[in-house]
Symmetry: C2
Subunit: 168 residues, 2 copies
């Protein structure tokens, strides 16, 4: 074990899961970004959270509406990860530009992703500033899965693909 | 896309990474637990966080000392995941019982895991109650990696093994 720069240690984290954070702004325009910094943070009640950079349009959307969808990326969404992670929703409607397939939510007013591995509808419970990000904690108010199931996509340091166990 | 019980949606999350949370209690006894509910939450300064159940001994340890090691599990630590996740540090010293190989930290007073994929020394910056868990946010004050590298272990719904990309 050798001491090293934090960046080198962080580079050992892969594969990392990919969570799409779907929102709407105050005017109703939908937005989407991929996040790796996302986790479950309560079992009962069920809550999840995402850490969003202060400058992101998604940050503004969540502040404005208090709602988001937390969706694990599905195996056919690699190009959407790249597109939505490299364009800002401040300047365009990514759902129209990329023709993203959606499904209807049941509680909040944010579209679900038809091709995700799972969708969780969330209402913001808390927002905590941590350094250059905000952790938005959301209570899960509804959940949706594709039928038949869609395999999850993971991030192998920029190679987005399905993760298989070495031994099963 | 069909609406479903949150538990079914959550079951689509795998593979999930495994982070060991290493601590000491006020008396100096080291402790360790595996957590999937862990993420990075700031880039500058670098911060990570873990969601720990209120009843866990690790929760008490972090409250007492304000320090923890955040370590991604390495490929030879599957049995340690099982052991440390099914025994409480309130009743035993898991490091002695399981003869866990350690390495010296450089800043905090918590042992590093010699067989982990990476170790981050953390000082608690914030503690936020979310439902039945507390999110402990830690600022990374030192980082260590094994040389040569050790591959990361992931959790495939209870099958702990290395995750390989389906396409490379």
């Amino acid at each position: 074990m050798k001491q090293t720069a934090p960046a080198e240690a962080i580079s050992r984290k892969y594969p990392e899961w990919i969570v799409f954070v779907v929102t709407r702004d105050a005017a109703g325009k939908p937005n989407i970004m991929p996040a790796g910094w996302a986790m479950i943070c309560s079992g009962n009640p069920l809550m999840v959270c995402v850490a969003i950079g202060h400058s992101r349009y998604t940050h503004k959307c969540i502040e404005q509406t208090g709602e988001f969808v937390f969706a694990w990326a599905g195996e056919n969404q690699a190009s959407l990860v790249e597109y939505s992670g490299s364009h800002s929703g401040a300047e365009e409607n990514k759902f129209e530009k990329f023709s993203i397939p959606t499904a209807q939510p049941s509680v909040i007013n944010v579209p679900l992703l038809a091709e995700a591995a799972a969708n969780l509808e969330c209402k913001v419970h808390q927002a905590i500033t941590t350094g250059d990000h905000t952790i938005f904690v959301g209570e899960v108010v509804a959940a949706h899965v594709p039928d038949p199931p869609i395999r999850k996509l993971d991030n192998f340091a920029g190679n987005y693909c399905v993760a298989l166990p070495e031994k099963s």
